[in-house]
Assembly symmetry: D2
Homo-oligomer: 333 residues x 4
């Protein structure tokens, strides 16, 4: 059994790791940290998990977590830096769900506006794209929720260097904003609305740029996020303007080929966030119009967009079947 | 492997059986019927299940379903009568999710306003209450969604004959109204509303009466259902007026004792439909006031209120662990 | 033109007063206070009101507000006490939307757990019940949101002393919890849920008791509130157990007679929160069952349950038509 | 008083006309048609309007409606053709809310796939753009809901011929799909989802093309609609790629100038559908990024996107203040 630690167990990505790992047959959660809830049982903070864990929240101490085989850091960006290097040095594998290791040092410092005091090169954990590097990795930078769907929707065409311009227009459930109540997450502020934010300058843009340019250097990318009235899910419309022209069927073939061995990618005619809810699937549907191709992707932001992909990465790192603990159907409706 | 058939695979209870049974390790779904979708693959009708089944919908023919060990009839009331007797006679075990076998013949005919042409005595499949009878049963009448939570919330006190009067005020997600679009399920008719219906005369009342009177003959019951803006879940407030007086702690002890060996019953301080969503759990919280006890129950109407309990009943019938296929955490948030 | 002041202009009841008074033809809003937003234009805090006001938030100073003919205090309970007495003494009429003047001094101190340093006897501003006293009043205690619907649903039968027991089971939109983000108002905590709270001991109970006992001294009252996933509205089921028996038609006649001259009371067959949304109407529907009468009321908690009723009270106080500024249709759907 | 008729009074645009016109002081609704509900009072079909009308639904007979000064045809496309020509010939002014007169005859026949048996040239009723033509018009083609926000968001830059390419990504409330229950409007199919449809080929595209090309012939337009979980509102992101470069401030100035005399256009920093709900306002916010300008518009699809704009057009046609009957604040939250 793989011994697992979770630093940051009270946020949504932490609780989602707990939900998924509760039924993972090859690993066991040994320790979960929370400064604030230290000493409480898991289900006292997460009543939905009552019956699944019998451990208490602990302080995020190196002494405790260094006994694990792998540690998930599910903390805000800027905070992972405090835990990752020491664990990494001691040989513990780390899967960081924050933004701290996703970009180059320079880009990180520019985008997040602070010095990166403890940079380590990590593998960008978009499993379907980087599976080979993940296999041998000791530190995974788990992708942002928006980049996951966005990159997967454009990568097959970018690989063929066919994209003139892509506009990603994304709609996320509000859990992406975290577990702490704010004006943004206040019910009446979202109800009967759909709220765009950081309309031309969201930080996740730089992950899209970084990964898609590996395929096609001159790709032009635009990105606008918004939240819709719902808890989970990110739907992304990739409006792709092609350099040349391809038939709809050719494009489908390109995607089918690119994702041939990818269990969690499903090409669908009919797409709906509730068709992937609670699951690690990425549903993709392709629509060829006269002016452009629209590739629509649907993911659960807390699963494939965060904790599910983190577990998938753990599986790959440890040579397990990537589906382990993740092979259950979505919850519809 | 238990060979399973599902008659009625396109409605919500049918699709929920498919979701749950996809990961049940002791049985295999052999045939699923739909007159309308006959010949289509499961995922063509249920895109969320893509990747989990490789069979096609078939006609609900006796020839096909009589080869199963157990058949779930997930059809509207009045229709189950067409399938149940023949299967039952041939020795196939049947779990009927409709209302056709829940009441006595006389009561059924009075309440549902039609003659029951093919009555068989069934075991009322409220697993926590009737586990012993379920074990040997050949026909299970799976309980209605409202009665499941309501009966479980009052049974411990009824067993002690302590109830003067109980008022059940229930709020259900709209999936209880079925998969076919109607004025009732039309989005703008439910949005920003909470809609009471059959306010003093819902048919599920008679199941509550039937089961609670087995415990306490003179119990007075009132029931009002309503739908709230959400897909899944039933929250029931049982306003219980007691004959004598009990301390809050005594009442908690009564419930704890009554549900001692019941894995799916969880006594909770904090109750929320989203804490049980997608799962077979029944969360119960007890509130002792000056005038009455309010026992609040939360279930997922499609799981414990229908298909999950049906699988739990199958497990008990076949001598399996009742948790088989059902032992996964709820999806919060 | 009546000169109006609003103390507390940033909360939901304050902004709703501003929405309604924007089109009131017999009064003008002269000053609106907010310590926090002092100096900002109204629409900088309430973007939906852009174009309707050209004034700035001010400090809640006596000097300013004492120039008004009437002041609405739309602040949390405990805070109104700081403004009401001085204004009252100076001859300004006051309509207090907080709980500070709704109960007797003794009851207030018991229920709200603090000494009432500046008690004045006010008229309880349930317009349909106390119109005559409101006419001459100088201080109105505007009713709580839950009591408004609850009292109106039981008053006609209480007046005839026919009620044995009434159980109020109420469902409110989340705006009742105020404008400040909390765990309670955090979107994912309400989504796909319906959340009961203060299940046997909500403070609004005492308003119901106080007002209904004026009609029938021995009435037994129970009350449980909950929030549903929506912004506005309170639906209350009054489960009324009668002393004797009345036919459904007789009961309807009692209500029709009792509310004969009440423009804002509508007896409806079909009831839905969205049929009253944004309006000052109280929709009532009556359902006679074998065991009890269920009287269902629907109001908009921010209008008839707060600011709309406050304006209605102002109209009555100043001898205007009670409909002035309030006579517009609800927003459905 | 202007005598108003409404052909098609049971759909959402019909009921919204009734809501708005109930308080319009310069006109009176004389007749409202519904074949199906003929003989019923208005509030028997629209309970929210109880107290506002005392007329009955009638057959849509020429004899009746030809006595009106203006008739609104609020029927599905293809059906308006049956009423408009005869009324038009007889001198009644007509405001058609269907799609039947929005495009040229040729375009209509191509896009809607049927012959137009009774074509008349109408004025495209986007009030802010075509006010002068509307003034003298006898037939108004009221714009589609999506084109209203989309065209208004790009027109100021198109007029300067500055647009290289614009991608409209729109999100609509479900009332846009009409009052009849369908799979699309079935609550569980929209809940926790956001559903794109007609992703590259929606008919409203042609209105955008027609109107924007009047300003700039070579503008490249792409359009994708989707529905979000809510009743009302359309939010449109116009991702505009400019030919040259403009500063953010210059762009704001362009918009401010273009909409100088337009009461219902509000430039906002903070944009939210609930800030315009129930009102005729168009909120616009402008975001200049490195790669493009994103102009976000928010409207209520049933008001500015349909019935409100229709009333605004009536006001202009009859020489009234365009705000008559429409000058009330939005309902937030």
């Amino acid at each position: 059994m793989i011994k697992v630690g979770i630093i940051g167990g009270t946020g949504y990505t932490g609780s989602e790791l707990l939900r998924i790992l509760a039924k993972h047959e090859k690993c066991e959660v040994k320790c979960v940290s929370s400064r604030k809830e230290k000493g409480k049982k898991i289900h006292e903070v997460h009543p939905h998990l009552k019956g699944f864990y019998n451990i208490e929240f602990v302080e995020p101490e190196f002494r405790i977590f260094s006994e694990c085989d792998v540690v998930f850091t599910a903390v805000p960006h800027g905070e992972a830096i405090r835990y990752v290097p020491e664990l990494y040095e001691s040989g513990v594998r780390v899967i960081d769900l924050s933004a701290d290791y996703r970009l180059s040092k320079e880009k990180y410092e520019e985008v997040y506006g602070k010095e990166h005091s403890a940079y380590i090169e990590a593998v960008y954990g978009l499993t379907e794209i980087n599976k080979d590097e993940i296999r041998g990795a000791r530190l995974i930078a788990n992708p942002g929720c928006y980049p996951t769907g966005a990159i997967l929707s454009a990568a097959p065409l970018a690989k063929l260097e066919l994209i003139e311009r892509v506009v990603f227009d994304s709609k996320s459930g509000i859990t992406g904003a975290g577990v702490a109540p704010t004006e943004f997450t206040h019910y009446p502020n979202l109800h009967e609305s759909i709220v765009p934010y950081r309309i031309t300058e969201h930080r996740h843009y730089y992950e899209m740029e970084q990964e898609l340019r590996k395929f096609q250097e001159d790709v032009k990318i635009s990105f606008t996020p918004q939240v819709f009235p719902g808890s989970r899910g990110i739907l992304t419309n990739a409006h792709i303007f092609l350099k040349g022209d391809l038939e709809g069927e050719e494009i489908e073939r390109v995607y089918r080929e690119f994702y041939r061995d990818c269990y969690f990618i499903r090409l669908q005619n009919d797409i709906k966030l509730s068709y992937v809810r609670g699951s690690n699937f990425v549903d993709i549907s392709i629509h060829k119009g006269k002016d452009r191709v629209v590739v629509v992707t649907a993911i659960d932001n807390l699963v494939k967009g965060a904790s599910g992909q983190a577990v998938q990465n753990m599986n790959v790192m440890f040579g397990l079947d990537e589906r382990e603990g993740l092979d259950f159907p979505p919850l519809f409706p």
